[in-house]
């Protein structure tokens, strides 16, 4: 039955991308477009005494200059959708008023006829700063020091305790308690396309169109409409091609609302394209947790309890989900294990830095790192093989749904199968033998592993700030072409292809007859968007069920036309057949309803039903639109919409094993092997799944070895360009050996779990575990990321 699902289908979105003919925001050209450039704070914490724009407004090409004072009452604050008990939410204005709180904080906006002239005028604006004491370190900010938001009295945004089970009893029952401080350094998502906004107001229609490089067109539309006081149905948001997101575009930013507002003021299109420097200063960062984990275990390696006390560095303000990210860490602290008692105590702290928020994995990589590093530390303490400690604590595959002490019910899993496959594929036993020999020869070889579980397909609406469902409309046009409109908002994941695979199989039509439309709020029904590895599991399911609804109607029409009843018709290969005909005829793909070039001018051909024993669904679509031969009381047209609400999250899992060699002279880490066995449930397109895994693992390698957003003591951003913020290059990476196990999810009828974040969740601890293993002859038990050559070299010396 499945002609496309499960196959390595190459992407339908690629031709425009490889020819350079796709349209990202900056590629959209409108006549008379004005360009916006920002004055941004050069101080991390300063009072803004005065802003002198006199010279700037006189500069060539300048049309307008706006400061915080000009717009304070006119544009509402940047929204935070996270709701936590007693959460302190600062008033986050789109341009700073009074104080600047981080380097890059927007202070004034210049509008000019040309982007060069706008940038020139930025330099003519004189800002009088009175610099204030800065607080950069998260632990220092929590303890006291300069207060960032005076009205709160301190820098603590919230404290939260989560988890189930008696943690004190669990620790008392342990034979050993291991304790380790761990730093999850601040990272920058670095989509290669930065953010960008084009706003065009139509004064006559009183309508605003915003093109923005975002992952959440509908949510952004709602929020921006509220911020600028425009009726939501007068705002259209279009996400053209989006050049990567990784969570950084799962947000509503000051610039999006401000550009819309400026376009309304000036009655002209206005455009802002983020520079890379702005991207590093003022697009959300990720991770940034400093915590201490305590794990209680028995002599045989059985884990009795886990406690994690952590400070989360939130930055100066809350972006959309900032305070909620550490709560995802709390949810995933059981990892792939049976841990009877778990407790997380998190303190969310304001610092003079850009906000942290959802960067690929968003809280879960931190949890996985804590748990998987802890498992290795336990193994080292007890002198047990890390494999055996993990195996000992896995829930068995018959124990699912498996309830964790973090309050989750894991949907399905077979952790031991993935582990065993990874051990086989890597030749683990032999690797250990080779390691022993290499050590004897003076080489530093390390083997590291990670058995992860992640939480995906976000998620049930009960657990989400603003809806966890996803929507789809499927329509068969009169000519038989299929249009799928999804509320998901793919930006590289390839869902124009994978959703078309689902639709083509379910409708029995050719893949090329299906077009998937997304990212235009004027065309597509409300949707939630693409993040949290949710698009296929939730949005793909919505497509599937919408089609099933559509087919119920199509079957009724077919029955009427074939003078039969719907229940006795057979549907196969896109064709409804009378039972006798189905047995006799060969099935196959349907012919086009209206062959190209043969359509009669001005009229559609009428379906020919006389003497027919079967009809294609595409012919039925034509009949449904012509509407002359429909069953009584049947609505014309052939389309269906479905909003799918999942009952639970999904929980993909897997085991990654890597082998590294460390150069004693330089401290450099080199990969010798990287093996990953992942289980993301049913796979729609293995080619795309491999791509997601590769990309995710490489972002993990970036965190483990190279990347860190560094602010100095004055809050100056040291890593302000890609010259200083080091993302991985092709030459630094190993060849990934991938394999899979397939445990379908019972949460959705597709059985898919999600894969977008697996690599960033699973890989980081495997790499650090390998490095620590390599350095174990020197007594090294832990090191913080990134494991730069200098840091590793110092440990060796």
């Amino acid at each position: 039955m499945s002609k496309y699902v499960g196959k390595r289908i190459k992407r339908t979105e690629d031709p425009r991308l490889i020819k350079g003919l796709a349209h990202y925001v900056d590629d959209i050209r409108l006549p008379d477009t004005l360009h916006v450039a920002f004055v941004r704070s050069i101080y991390a914490h300063a009072r803004i005494a005065n802003i002198d724009v006199t010279e700037a407004v006189k500069a060539p090409g300048v049309v307008a200059v706006y400061t915080g004072k000009d717009i304070a009452e006119k544009v509402g604050p940047v929204p935070c959708a996270a709701a936590l008990p007693d959460l302190k939410v600062p008033d986050y204005r789109v341009l700073a008023t009074g104080k600047a709180l981080f380097v890059g904080h927007p202070i004034a906006a210049v509008v000019a006829t040309d982007r060069y002239l706008a940038r020139d005028a930025v330099d003519l604006i004189a800002v009088d700063y009175e610099d204030l004491p800065v607080v950069v370190d998260v632990e220092a900010a929590a303890k006291g020091g300069p207060v960032i938001h005076e009205k709160f009295g301190n820098n603590i945004a919230y404290t939260l305790t989560s988890g189930e089970g008696d943690i004190d009893a669990a620790m008392n029952a342990a034979d050993h308690i291991i304790k380790q401080r761990m730093v999850h350094q601040r990272l920058a998502p670095i989509a290669i396309e930065g953010r960008g906004v084009l706003a065009r107001y139509f004064p006559g229609e009183e309508e605003l169109t915003l093109w923005s490089s975002t992952q959440i067109p509908h949510l952004m539309r709602t929020q921006v409409a509220l911020m600028i006081g425009l009726p939501e149905n007068k705002l259209r948001v279009i996400t053209p091609e989006v050049g990567g997101g990784f969570g950084s575009k799962l947000n509503v930013y000051a610039e999006e609302a401000l550009l819309g507002w400026i376009s309304i003021q000036l009655g002209k299109p206005v455009k802002w394209i983020e520079t890379r420097r702005e991207n590093l200063q003022a697009t959300i960062h990720g991770r940034a947790q400093v915590g201490t984990v305590e794990v209680g275990c028995k002599n045989d390696g059985t884990i009795t309890g886990l406690r994690y006390n952590v400070f989360a560095d939130l930055g100066a303000y809350h972006q959309l989900l900032t305070p909620a990210i550490p709560t995802l860490t709390g949810l995933m602290l059981s990892g792939a294990y049976r841990i009877p008692a778990i407790q997380m105590n998190v303190t969310g702290v304001f610092t003079n830095k850009m906000s942290t928020d959802a960067y690929r994995g968003a809280g879960r990589p931190e949890a996985t790192y804590v748990v998987e590093r802890a498992m290795d530390i336990v193994a080292a303490e007890l002198k047990i093989d890390p494999v055996e400690v993990r195996r000992k604590n896995f829930p068995g595959k018959s124990e699912f749904p498996f309830h964790t002490a973090t309050g989750l019910d894991y949907d399905s899993g077979d952790y031991e199968a993935a582990l065993d496959k990874a051990l086989d594929l890597s030749g683990y036993a032999k690797l250990r033998e080779e390691q022993t020999k290499a050590r004897a020869a003076g080489k530093l070889i390390g083997i590291g592993m990670s058995s992860y579980v992640e939480i995906c397909a976000l998620g049930p609406s009960q657990a989400m700030p603003a809806g966890g469902w996803e929507s789809a409309t499927v329509r068969i046009e009169p000519t038989g072409k299929v249009t799928v409109m999804t509320g998901a908002s793919p930006h590289g994941q390839g869902q124009e292809t994978s959703f078309a695979q689902i639709a083509a199989d379910e409708l029995g039509v050719d893949l090329n007859d299906v077009t998937v439309i997304h990212g235009d709020t004027a065309i597509v029904q409300y949707g939630i968007g693409t993040f949290g590895s949710r698009a296929t599991a939730v949005g793909g399911t919505a497509v599937l069920i919408a089609i099933q609804k559509l087919k119920e109607k199509a079957a009724k029409i077919a029955a009427h036309m074939l003078q039969s009843d719907a229940s006795s018709l057979l549907f196969e290969g896109g064709r409804y057949s009378l039972p006798a005909a189905a047995a006799a005829s060969a099935t196959g793909t349907s012919d086009p309803v209206v062959p190209v070039g043969e359509a009669p001018a001005g009229a559609l051909p009428e379906p020919q039903t006389e003497g027919r024993s079967s009809l294609t669904i595409q012919e039925i679509a034509l009949a449904a639109h012509i509407a002359k031969e429909l069953p009584p009381d049947t609505e014309p047209g052939l389309s269906a919409t479905y909003f799918f609400e999942p009952k639970n999250f999904t929980f993909p899992f897997g085991t990654h094993i890597c082998v590294v060699e460390i150069d004693k002279e330089t401290g450099e880490t080199k990969f010798l092997r990287y093996v990953a066995v992942d289980d993301c449930g049913k796979v729609i397109n293995p080619l795309l799944v491999d791509g997601q895994l590769h990309g995710g693992i490489v972002q993990s390698i970036g965190q483990a070895l190279y990347e860190e957003v560094v602010y100095d003591e004055q809050g100056q951003l040291v890593t302000g360009e890609l010259m200083d913020y080091a993302i991985p290059r092709a030459s630094q990476l190993p060849w990934f050996e991938l394999d899979r196990t397939e445990t379908p999810s019972p949460v959705n009828p597709l059985g898919v779990k999600g894969v977008g974040e697996a690599g960033t969740v699973g890989a980081t601890p495997a790499i650090v575990n390998a490095i620590v293993d390599a350095l174990s002859p020197y007594g090294v038990k832990h090191l913080d990321m990134p494991a730069r050559p200098e840091a590793v070299w110092k440990l060796i010396k």
């Binding site: 690629d14 020819k19 091609e241 590769h694 092709a730």
Partner: protein
Amino acid sequence: MKQAISINVNGVDHHDEVEPRLLLVHFLRDLLGLTGTHVGCETSICGACTVLLDGLAVKSCTMFAVQANGSNITTIEGLAANGKLHPMQEGFWEKHGLQCGYCTPGMIIAASQLIDRNPDPSRAEIRHGLEGNLCRCTGYQHIVEAVEYAAKKAKA
């Protein structure tokens, strides 16, 4: 202030008067409307803006349009000949060498020069040859396979 320049882009001669500070990438994108060449970092690190200038891969974000006066430039839009994809474009499609597609034009241009110089590159040579181009989506493995595919195809 403005200077006259003549540049042949994708086989078409263009004569223009431009500010001396106009970057080549903005000349291509804003004046000629060839928006397939992207800007990713403005500092020559990411390579999204890579074009061929007299056959050499250069980063058009850190070169002035006036410096390209008199030269022949090939952008991603000019790579396919007579409507037929360049083997490198085909390779990227076949091997899933792109996800969001933003780095792709620069990556394809750089990779096409790579196989022009070295028709039979090893995987290590491919990785080394693409050090000047950053991709945040793919993890590069499918890109390496795409280049291998194209090298094979170009020789056939």
